[in-house]
C-alpha cells in the first residue's frame, strides 16, 4: 500500500502522534458526535462501539510475572476509526478497525498488527455479551459485563491466551467519565477497569510460559480529543503495592503541557486531581529506533505524597506498527513501589 495513503488512513486512527501533531485529530468533527459533559455512561451499552464518534479504543495492558520468575508485559488494543459517523453492511461500511498486540520481556519486544473493514464481520465489538475482536484476536466476556474476560492474540513469533478477573469496580475518569484533554475543552469519554487479576500462558519462540499478574483496561471514545497544538502524549497507568492505583498523563503542547491524573484507592473509589497536580519529568533518554525516547521518569503528586521513579522494563519496547510509538511495562520505585505501563507517542 502506498505509504502516504496508509499514513492518512491511519491518521484517522487514535493513539498515534505524528511530528505534525495529531493532525487528523485536531480538525473539526465533521458530522461526528461530540463528547457531552452531561452524558452519563451506562453499562453494558457503553462497553460496545460508538460508531457516531470518530475514534474509539479498547486498550488492555498487563504486567505479568512468569513461573520462571521473569517480568513480562502484554498489550492488546483494538482501535476503531470512522470515515463517516454511521455503520453500514458490507464493504460500504465507513468503520475501519486496527488491532495491536505486543509481548515485552526484559530483552525482547514482539509486535503484531491487524487491520480490517467494518461491516463484513471481520472485526467489531458487541456490548452484551461483550466481545471485541479482529481476525482471531479476541477479548471475550465469560460472565455478564466485563468482570471476567478471556484474551488472545498471536503474531508470527508469539502468542498469548489469558483470563482476566476484575477485583474492583469500574473507574470513571475525569468528571463522571468526561475526561478533559486540553485547556480549550477538548475531551473524551473515558472509563477504566484497572484491577484485573490475570493468569494464562505466553508463547514465545523458546516455548510457553505460565504467567500471573495485573491487568488494566482503558475505554475511550471521542471525535476530537486533542488540540491542534498538542504534539503527543506520555501516559502512565501505575499499580502500587499498597493497593492504590494511579492513571496520569501529560499532553505535550506548544502552549504549555497539560497534565491530569486520577487517584484510585484500594477500595476502587476514584478521585480526579486538578490539572497540574501531577508533574512528570523525563530523567533518562534512550536511543530507540533512531530517536531519543525518555525511558525513565520522575513523577510527583504532592497531594498524595507520591514521588516515584518510573523505569522501563525494556527500553526498546518500540511498536513497529504502521504508526510507530512506544508502549511497555515499567517498574516503580520511590515513595511507592509497584508496576505499571507507559505509553509515549509523538517522539
Amino acid at each position: 500500500m502506498n505509504a502516504r495513503l496508509l499514513a492518512l488512513l491511519l491518521l484517522c486512527l487514535p493513539g498515534f502522534a505524528t511530528a505534525q501533531g495529531f493532525a487528523g485529530l485536531g480538525t473539526d468533527a465533521q458530522g461526528f458526535a461530540v463528547p457531552d459533559p452531561a452524558h452519563r455512561l451506562s453499562f453494558p451499552a457503553d462497553h460496545g462501539a460508538h460508531p457516531e464518534f470518530r475514534i474509539e479504543w479498547w486498550y488492555l495492558t498487563a504486567t505479568l510475572t512468569g513461573e520462571d520468575g521473569r517480568d513480562y508485559g502484554i498489550q492488546w488494543t483494538l482501535f476503531r476509526s470512522a470515515l463517516a459517523p454511521y455503520e453500514a453492511e458490507g464493504w460500504a461500511s465507513p468503520q475501519l478497525w486496527m488491532a495491536h498486540a505486543a509481548l515485552t520481556t526484559p530483552d525482547r519486544h514482539f509486535v503484531a498488527e491487524r487491520r480490517a473493514r467494518g461491516g463484513i464481520g471481520q472485526a467489531g465489538v458487541s456490548a452484551e455479551p461483550f466481545l471485541a475482536y479482529l481476525d482471531d484476536w479476541e477479548m471475550r466476556a465469560t460472565a455478564p459485563g466485563i468482570v471476567a474476560l478471556s484474551l488472545s492474540a498471536r503474531g508470527q513469533d508469539f502468542s498469548y491466551a489469558l483470563t482476566l478477573e476484575a477485583q474492583g469496580p469500574l473507574v470513571l475518569q475525569g468528571d463522571q467519565g468526561y475526561s478533559v484533554k486540553s485547556r480549550d475543552g477538548h475531551a473524551s469519554h473515558y472509563y477504566s477497569q484497572p484491577a484485573y487479576d490475570v493468569t494464562g500462558t505466553l508463547t514465545l519462540p523458546d516455548g510457553p510460559v505460565r504467567v500471573t499478574g495485573q491487568g488494566w483496561l482503558d475505554r475511550e471514545w471521542s471525535s476530537q480529543p486533542l488540540s491542534g497544538t498538542q504534539s503527543g502524549w506520555d501516559w502512565f497507568s501505575l499499580s502500587f503495592e499498597g493497593g492504590e492505583k494511579m492513571m496520569g498523563f501529560r499532553l505535550r503542547d506548544t502552549a504549555g503541557d497539560f497534565t491530569a491524573a486520577t487517584w484510585i484507592s484500594p477500595d476502587g473509589s476514584a478521585e480526579a486531581l486538578p490539572e497540574g497536580a501531577l508533574s512528570v519529568e523525563p530523567l533518562t533518554t534512550s536511543q530507540v529506533a533512531g530517536r531519543g525516547v525518555p525511558t525513565r521518569w520522575r513523577l510527583d503528586l504532592p497531594a498524595k505524597g507520591l514521588s516515584v521513579d518510573v523505569t522501563a522494563l525494556n527500553p526498546q519496547a518500540w511498536m513497529t506498527t504502521s504508526f510507530p510509538y512506544w508502549e511497555g511495562p515499567v517498574t516503580i520505585t520511590g515513595s511507592h513501589a509497584g508496576k505499571g505501563y507507559l505509553e509515549m507517542t509523538g517522539y
Partner: protein
Amino acid sequence: MIAAALGALLSHWRRQPGQFATLVLGLALATALWSAVQAINAEARASYARAAAQLGGDAGLVLKARSGAIPLATYVALRRAGWQVSPVLEGRTRIGQTSLRILGVDGLTYPVMPASETTDATDPAAILLPPGRLFVTPATAEALANAPDLPPRITTPDLPEGVALTDIGTAERLLARTGEITRLLVLPDQPAGLPPLSQLAPDLELSETGQGDVARLTDSFHLNLTAFGLLSFAVGLFIVHGTAGLAFEQRRAMFRTLRALGLPARTLTLLVLGELLALALLSGLLGLVLGYFVAAVLLPDVAATLRGLYGAPVEGGLTLRPAWVASGLGMAVGGALLAGVQGVVKVARMPILAAPGLLAWSGAARRGRWRMALAGPALMLGGVLALWQVGGLLGGFMLLGGLMLGAALLLPPLLAGLLALGGRCATGVTGQWLLADLRAQLPGLTLALMALLLALATNVGVGTMVSSFRLTFTGWLDQRLTSELYIYAESDRQGAALEDWLRPRTEAVLPIRYAEAELAGAPGRIYGIVDHATYRDNWPIIAAAPGGWDRVADSTGVLVNEQLARREGLWPGTTLTLGPGWQAEVVGVYSDYGNPNAQAIVAMPALLAHVPNVPNRQFGIRIAPEKAPTLAAELRAAFDLPETSVVDNAAVKAASLAIFEKTFVVTAALNVLTLGVAGFAILTSLLTLWTMRLPHVAPVWAMGMTRKALARIEILRSLALAGLTALLALPLGLVLAKVLLDVINVTAFGWQLPMYLFPLDWLRLLALALLAGALAAALPATRLRRLPPADLLKVFAHER
C-alpha cells in the same frame, strides 16, 4: 624514490602505447560483455519483481474456489481463524467500446497499492466510501474520459493498460457482484499454529500466482546469458594475462635496475600491484560504460523475447543498478589480479642479479608446454569426476569448466604436434621455413589462440543448443498444439455455455480439464482427455507400450510427461499412484518442454470419477483452419470474451517462432562480440611479437624473399593458425553442446533435447575465424610490406 620508481614503471606504458591499449581494452571488453549480461539479467529480474508486486502482491500463493466465486463469508471465516489473506474481486465491464478490467482489492489488507500522481489519492474516505475512485494509467483514463457513470479516476503509471484498480466495495457495485470474491491472496507472514485450510475451506484450492512459473522458465534464458558472460570474461582474461605477463618480462631489466638502486623488493611489489589495480579500475570503468551501451542495444530484443516467449513483463528501458556496477568492477579487479598475480609474484621473488632474458617470456611458455599437456587432460578428468561425484547442476558446470579449460591447455601441444608433423611432410625450403617459423611463434600466440578456441567452441556449443532447441520446440508445438483454437472460460458456468454454443459449429470440442495433484511426492497435474484422433495422431510420444492409447481410453493406463518419467524412472510397464486407491500402469511418455512440473494424462471419466469438481474452463477446438479466425471473432462477440481468452493456434506458433528469431539475434550478437574479443587477442599478440620477429624475418629477406612475399606469408601464417584452431574448436564445441543438452538441460529443467548438427553454421564459423585471423594479421603484414629495407639491415648491424 617511490616517485622515481613509479615514473620509471609508468614510462614503460608511455613507450608501449599499443600494449597499454591492449591491456586496458582487453579488460574493458571482458568487463563490458560481463556487465552487459548482468545488466540485462538485473533489468529483467527487476521487471518481474515490479510486475509481481503491482498486480499479484508479493504473495506467491492464491486461494481460488474450485468452481464459481468465493463467498465473503468464507473470507471472514478464514480471517477469524487467523489466516492472513486478502480478497480480490476481478471482472470485466464494458464502457462504450472499451472493455475495462476491474481489479477490486481491500486497501487495508492488500499488500501493495500503486503510487499516484495526484494528491487526492490520499483521502481514504474518497477511496473507500461510495462512489469510490478508480486507479488507472493516464492512457486508460483518456479512454474513459467520456464515461459519466464511472467513479472519478486517479492516474498512476504503475498499472497495465485497460485495468482499473479500485476498492473491493467499488468493484462490487461496478460489476454487480455483491458478496463475491475472485481469489484470496495468501500474505507472506502467517502466524504459527493455524488450522489447516482443507478443514476451514474445503472448497478452495491453493495455487501459485504464476509468477513462479515465469521465474523458472526465464531462469533457463538467464542461465544461458550468464554462461555466455562468464565465457566472454574468460576470453578477456586470457588477453590480460598475456599482456600483463609480457609487460612484466619486458620490464625485468628495469625492475633489476630499480632494485640495484636500492628500492626495497616490498615497495617494488606494492608499486607493481598498485599499478595493476589502477589499470584494472580504469579498464573496469571503461568496460562498464561499454557494457551499458551493449546492454542498451540488446535489451529491447531480450525484453521482446521474454515477453513473447514466457509472458514475462520486461520493459525495454535500462537503468544503472548498483548491483551490476559492483559486479562489473569486481570482476575487472578480480580478473586483473588473477591474470597479473603471476607477474607480481615473479617481481617479489626476482633475484636481484638474475640476467634479463630477452625471450624469457616465450621461452617460459615453451617450457610450460609439457606441463600444459599434462594439466589439460587432468582438468578434463577432474570435470568428469566432478559430474560423477558432485552431480547436479554444479557438477554439470564443473564438467563444462574442466572440459573448456583442459582443452584450452591442450591446444598448444596439439598445435605444436600438428606443425611438427606438417614440417616433416613439407617439401621445399619456403614451406619448411614457414612451418618452423610457425612453431617458433606459437608460444607467443598461445594465449590468443586459446581465447579463439574458447570463443569458437562456445559459438558452436551454444549455437547448436539453441538451434536444436528451436527445431525440437517448433516440432513439438506442431504436435502438441493441434487444435485450431484454444478457449479459456472465466467460470464453469461460462465453460458449459461455451461448450453448448461451440458443439454444432465445430468438428470437435476437446475439453482440457485437470486437477492439481501430488505425483510421486511432487506437485503436478493430472489431465483428463476424451478419446479422440487428435491425441492419437499427434501427441509427442517418446516411449510407448503397445496399444497405449487404448489402455488410456479404458482407464487402465496413464501417460506421463518426460520430466516425471526421468525423475522417478516411470517408463512404460511401471505403475503410478495418482491418488488414494487410484493406480494405473504407465503406457507412454511424452515430451513436455517448458513445464517444470510432473504431469499425467488419464481418460476423462477416470479423472472425474476420482477427483470431484474438476474445473471445466478450457477447450481445444477442431475446425477447418481457414474458418478459425471467423469463429474466434464470433465467439468473442457472443460471450464478450477478452482478447486473451480465445487463442488462435496459428498465431501462437507464429509468435513462438518470431520469439526464437529474437533469441537468435541476442545469441548471435553475443557470439560476434566474443569472436571479436578473440580476434583482438590475436592482433595484440602479433603486434607484441612484432619487434621480436624482425631478427627472424631479416635473414629470409636477405636471402632474397621479397617483403611482399613475407607479408603474404605473415597473413598465411595467421590464417593457418586460426584455421587449425577452428578445426580443433569444432569437436570441443560439439562436446560442449552435448553437455549443455544432455547434462545441464536435464538437471536444470528436466528434459533432454535431441542434438541436431548444423554443418553450414560450422562453415560460417570457420570463415569467421579465418576472417578474424586475417584481419588480425593485416596490420603487421602491412607494416612488414612497408618496412624500409634499412630497418631490416639494421638487424644484422645491431648486437643481439
